[in-house]
Homo-oligomer: 335 residues x 2
């Protein structure tokens, strides 16, 4: 039997663990829990995300290395949104006995690639039998006291900045689901598929922001959230946590170049607002600070609207026109 | 429709989140990640466990509050085995849309009860759709530098101490699976069922051990592991990590009173060694220290054997008799 066909039940739990330990350097794994020292005077930051086969990924759209990368990137993106740097992750893997060992090793390879790119180590894990493949990751990070970013710091007078294009991940998913886009160049298609399969937590944007901020960002209010559940969801959550409203300008939405040509303006806006999984950061901050940050960021980042005292959250065609309300319900709902 | 019949799909994700936030006091939940300050000069300890419906629990044997309690207790037991105190947990819950909301609230109530009893708060979570109910918990704890307990500190000349009876959880499971035990008193049966449904992480035993140890336990070797995967598994893992062997004496195994009367000596020993989920601690330590600790612990704790230089791990009838080897494979295997 070729190694490619080997399943979990062929190998057994102990055999599988032996293989997976290879992906866990650093000596963290092997006790009931991992013990690690943090840098002095740091706060601990913790977040968790669960990915389920058939819901968050499938063999049809996602290679095993991409499953691993995305699971880690989704968690690291949450750390980036809090202004934290990664320490490490735990991996809880639920698997049917028929799962191919090569698939699992692919997931761990993808996990390792993402950790190598952004920092952090595998600190522990659990492996158990389940009818449904599920990847549960918890990420730990650290931040200097006073430097954590929160959703609740939005204030009227701020503008809203997105650190990159939105809708690319949704377009990539559509392409993977074999919605052919003959009018779109191959290079563009690869970019969108990469956006879906290999999202990048925006630690770089946080670092740029830090350079523009005084040492203690408590004195300069910045609200932050990642756009994992969609751009509209991020704006809505920030506004709700801050007790403010927002006005987004349709023509300022950072729609990926070429997307309107493919799917038309209406669907492009829908994917930008509600497509989800772009894993960019949505920041509310003073206009001058936003303009300075925008100059540091790569093309795609945009100032998309303003924070308002009224609680309405509207999409407008021009700042003066009446707008249509954004909806939390229109985004991805699990149930 | 009565509230008892309400399902996740009736309520929707946002409605369910609103209900679950009630179980998350402390203001940790509501950002991309939780930010918490640790006590000064502490090391961080992290562990994760995944529980799957039909594998680790089922409606037949486990009330929802017990599912929540056990999921937390399993993780806290790992922290106790490392000598750490709990900071908090994250909860990743995967659910079919048909799951009853009352069941989920029961799980969260059980989670809260266990955290109230032993310390720690809910620091975050994730909620997603899945065909299989899965509870993925990561627990964070802290420990003073130099005071963490490890598996690798067993040395020949030490004795092996179990902090309580083993096999009670397996007996409780058998009773829940409707294996009637007419000869056994109702009070005994309740004790075993409680052992299965409401296991207790042994922070108390660690505290007793600390009082007997000098300030820095690096100078007094103590190996520790919890017995979640069985007493035999714990002894085997400690020996493997320490490069030593062990001799367990059959008559010294801490079998719950009455169990031999019910299932006979052979099965009672099997359940004690391989039943699993007793969540006691298995410690290897100097004989005098073990004797002193035993005096502090409640009945059920026992010195069950000795650490040997030979790598064999044997169950013997008397210290002089030839023994039979323990097996890692005989314990609970997921695959």
């Amino acid at each position: 039997m070729g190694d490619a066909c080997l399943t979990v039940s062929d190998l057994g739990e102990l055999g599988l663990l032996d293989r997976l330990f290879r992906f866990c350097p650093g000596g963290w794994v092997g006790d009931d829990a991992a013990v690690l020292s943090m840098a002095a005077d740091r706060q601990l930051v913790v977040t968790t995300d669960v990915l389920v086969d058939g819901v968050h990924f499938s063999d049809r759209t996602t290679a095993p290395t991409d499953v691993g990368w995305r699971a880690v990137a989704a968690n690291l993106s949450d750390l980036a949104a809090m202004g934290a740097e990664p320490l490490g992750i735990t991996v809880g893997l639920s698997l049917p006995p028929t799962t191919r060992v090569a698939w699992i090793e692919g997931v761990y390879a993808g996990i390792g690639q993402c950790l190598n790119a952004y920092g952090g180590q595998i600190l522990g894990g659990d492996l158990c039998r389940s009818p449904t493949v599920t990847v549960a990751i918890t990420a730990l990070g650290q931040v200097q006291p006073g430097q954590a970013l929160y959703r609740s710091r939005a204030e009227p007078g701020q503008v809203i900045l997105a650190t990159g294009v939105h809708g690319a991940s949704r377009a990539g998913l559509a392409l993977l689901l074999e919605e052919v886009a003959p009018a779109i160049g191959a290079e563009q298609q690869v970019t969108w598929i990469q956006a879906h399969c290999r999202p990048k937590p925006r630690f770089d944007a946080v670092a740029q922001l830090r350079q523009l901020l005084p040492d203690n960002c408590d004195s300069t209010p910045v609200a932050a959230m990642d756009s994992s559940d969609g751009l509209a969801n991020a704006v809505l959550q920030i506004c709700q946590a801050s007790g403010v409203g927002a006005q987004l300008v349709r023509s300022h939405l950072p729609i990926p170049p070429g997307l309107i040509d493919w799917v038309g303006p209406e669907r492009a806006v829908e994917w930008a607002l509600y497509g989800g999984e772009d894993f960019e950061l949505v920041l509310c901050l003073a206009p001058a600070l936003a303009t300075a940050l925008l100059r540091q960021l790569e093309p795609g980042a945009a100032i998309i609207g303003t924070v308002t005292p009224s609680p309405d959250i509207l999409l407008v065609d021009t700042a003066a026109a009446p707008g249509s309300p954004l909806s939390l319900q229109a985004g991805f709902q699990h149930f």
